[in-house]
């Protein structure tokens, strides 16, 4: 498939935003049972704002993928069958919930119910609901790709696992960088989680790469035109100036570039940030954490490009020779 920048930015930005929310809420709930030191409400309110900005940035990027963004509201109608429709519903829902959670923190909202002060219960409950929605959004985003059964590089549970783990890893890394400025006592907590998630994502993404390398195509030129013969060569695809079929489904990069991007994605997303976080945490160097964040995000852009480029659409069988 031809990787579209709009979708690359959409999936990486909202993935990181969702991950940051999960990190913030993990911090909040751990503090509630006194495993880690409690933070000021402001830490969560500003963090929630960053989550919101990432989600909005992703949404804006997604609009560049549409021919008619003014009709995008129609996309909420087919939630019964379409994962894309489900994503379109859940994304604004997550935004709303994150906004409510942030506002509750910002106002330090402490309503009384039946004479009892609810205190942190209210943001904890809201945060738990939001986290559930965040996980649903990861599933919906990944299922858009994993549900197309003949794009076999995508049609695997690994796609959902990877989207979730990669998003969570970048989000926890962002939380680490955020904590270096505003909650130094949480740097090791978030950094540790960022490393665990990055390791897990490294494992699952490698599994997907190995799976892709071993895939045997189900469709062949024989099944595509229904002629049983071992020697079939296309002599003409019916047009010479290209068409949507030749532009949308081919990444157009040479084998060399593809391999280069694969290694860039692997190195920039996994081992390099891991080392940087490790050194950043052990030497109390906030700058290394910040560099790790940008290195991993750059790696994720390459990783997402690779995700699209590696998907080999069966229609490509019909477009092998210009003529």
């Amino acid at each position: 498939m031809h990787p579209a920048l709009s979708v690359i930015f959409l999936t990486t930005l909202i993935g990181a935003g969702q991950g940051l929310f999960l990190a913030l809420f993990t911090g909040e709930s751990y503090a509630a049972i006194n495993i880690i030191p409690e933070q000021r409400h402001q830490f969560f309110a500003v963090g929630g704002l960053i989550v919101l900005m990432l989600l909005i940035a992703g949404l804006v990027a997604s609009f560049f993928h549409l021919g008619h963004p003014e009709r995008a509201w129609r996309a909420v109608t087919q939630w019964r069958t379409s994962w894309l429709s489900r994503e379109v519903i859940i994304l604004p829902l997550v935004m709303l919930l994150v906004a409510l959670w942030s506002i509750a923190h910002y106002l330090e909202w402490n309503p009384t119910l039946l004479g009892m002060e609810l205190g942190s219960e209210i943001t904890l409950t809201l945060g738990a609901v939001t986290s559930a929605a965040v996980f649903l959004l990861y599933i919906a985003t990944a299922m858009i790709y994993a549900s197309i059964r003949f794009l076999r590089e995508w049609a695997s549970p690994l796609t959902v696992i990877n989207f979730t783990l990669l998003g969570a890893a970048s989000g926890f890394l962002l939380a680490t960088a955020y904590a270096t400025n505003y909650a130094q006592n949480l740097v090791n907590f978030y950094g540790g989680w960022a490393m665990i998630l990055t390791l897990a994502a490294w494992f699952s993404r490698s599994a997907a790469l190995i799976r892709n390398a071993r895939l045997k195509p189900k469709s062949t030129i024989q099944s595509a035109i229904g002629i049983r013969h071992s020697q079939i060569a296309q002599k003409s695809m019916g047009m010479m100036g290209g068409s949507y079929n030749t532009r949308e489904y081919f990444h157009g990069a040479s084998r060399m570039v593809l391999r280069l991007i694969k290694w860039l994605a692997l190195v920039l997303t996994f081992p390099l940030p891991l080392l940087l976080i490790w050194f950043g945490m052990s030497s109390d160097n906030a700058q290394l954490i910040l560099i790790a964040l940008f290195v991993q995000y750059l790696g994720l852009l390459f990783e997402r490009w690779l995700f699209f480029a590696q998907a080999n659409h069966p229609q490509n069988i019909y477009y092998q020779t210009v003529g």
Binding site: M1, H65, L66, G67, H68, P69, R71, A72, R74, A75, V76, T77, Q78, T81, S82, W83, L84, S85, V88, I144, S147, I148, R149, F150, L151, K218, S219, I221, S223, A224, I225, G226, I227, H229, Q231, I232, A233, Q234, K235, S236, M237, G238, M239, M240, G241, G242, S243, Y244, N245, E248, Y249, H313, P314, Q315, N316, Y318, Y319, G323
Partner: protein
């Protein structure tokens, strides 16, 4: 249930592209607006087409056969492109099984084209909506056209009658009979999309005459044996020609 479809006979298709041009002509002049063309008279002309004819060579030279392969939307009975559409713009008509796009609802997200294993859908880069073969739905029910012309444009244009149009759920239609009696098959059956359009395979048409067939008692040519030779009498033909 009706399922309108095309049955394309690869045995008689000569690859003349008449179906391609007639399709483009009809569908660029309809109510849905023109089909996009970019650089039509320049280098690298490109644009939106509903139908293409491709050419394949089977075998190794010199023992090869050339197969011309017309390719358009197959109007699958279980179309994978329809359920993925987030807006409901892409739909399959209940009454005749044609898969269509509502150009006023389409947001141009291209998801349906990813979900079609055949690459049958093309985006119109001017109108920025997804387009595809409509089976000339605007001809099929047009009472102002003579009955014989209420068929897809490509079917009418084909000089070798390689395209048979009909209801494949009606066992007596020409399309169903062709599928049944001439080995009609579907493309990429491995995905379970059940394409409504079928293709008829190449056939070897050879005439075998064995020597004994010429002298067999049931050979009508046997009559020549008992013929007494041409008559010398003047008959009507001699007057008329």
């Amino acid at each position: 249930m009706t399922q309108l479809a095309l049955v394309i006979d690869l045995n008689v298709c000569v690859g003349c592209h008449a179906c391609v041009t007639s399709c483009k002509e009809w569908n660029t002049s309809g109510v849905a607006g023109p089909l996009f063309d970019d650089n039509p008279y320049d280098a690298n002309p490109t644009g939106t087409f509903f139908n293409r004819v491709q050419t394949f060579e089977i075998g190794t030279f010199p023992k090869t056969e050339t197969v011309h392969f017309p390719k358009s939307c197959l109007h699958c009975e279980d179309p994978p492109c329809v359920p993925v559409c987030p807006t409901g713009a892409s739909y399959k008509r209940r009454e005749d099984g044609i898969v269509l796009v509502d150009y006023d609802k389409c947001i141009g997200c291209k998801y349906c084209s990813w979900a079609c294993p055949y690459g049958a859908r093309e985006i119109d880069e001017q109108q920025r909506v997804m387009k595809k073969c409509t089976l000339c739905v605007d001809r099929l029910y047009d009472a102002s056209l003579p009955e014989s012309e209420r068929k897809p444009s490509c079917v009418l244009a084909c000089p070798t009658q390689a395209r048979i149009y009909g209801d494949i759920h009606d066992a007596d239609s020409a399309a169903s009979m062709a599928i049944r009696e001439r080995g009609g098959y579907q493309l990429m059956p491995e995905w379970g999309t059940q394409p409504a359009n079928h293709y008829l395979p190449r056939r070897k048409t050879e005439l075998h005459i064995h020597a004994d067939e010429l002298v067999r008692s049931d050979n009508p040519l046997k009559k020549e044996d008992i013929r007494k030779g041409p008559s010398r009498e003047v008959n009507l033909d001699d007057w008329m020609f």
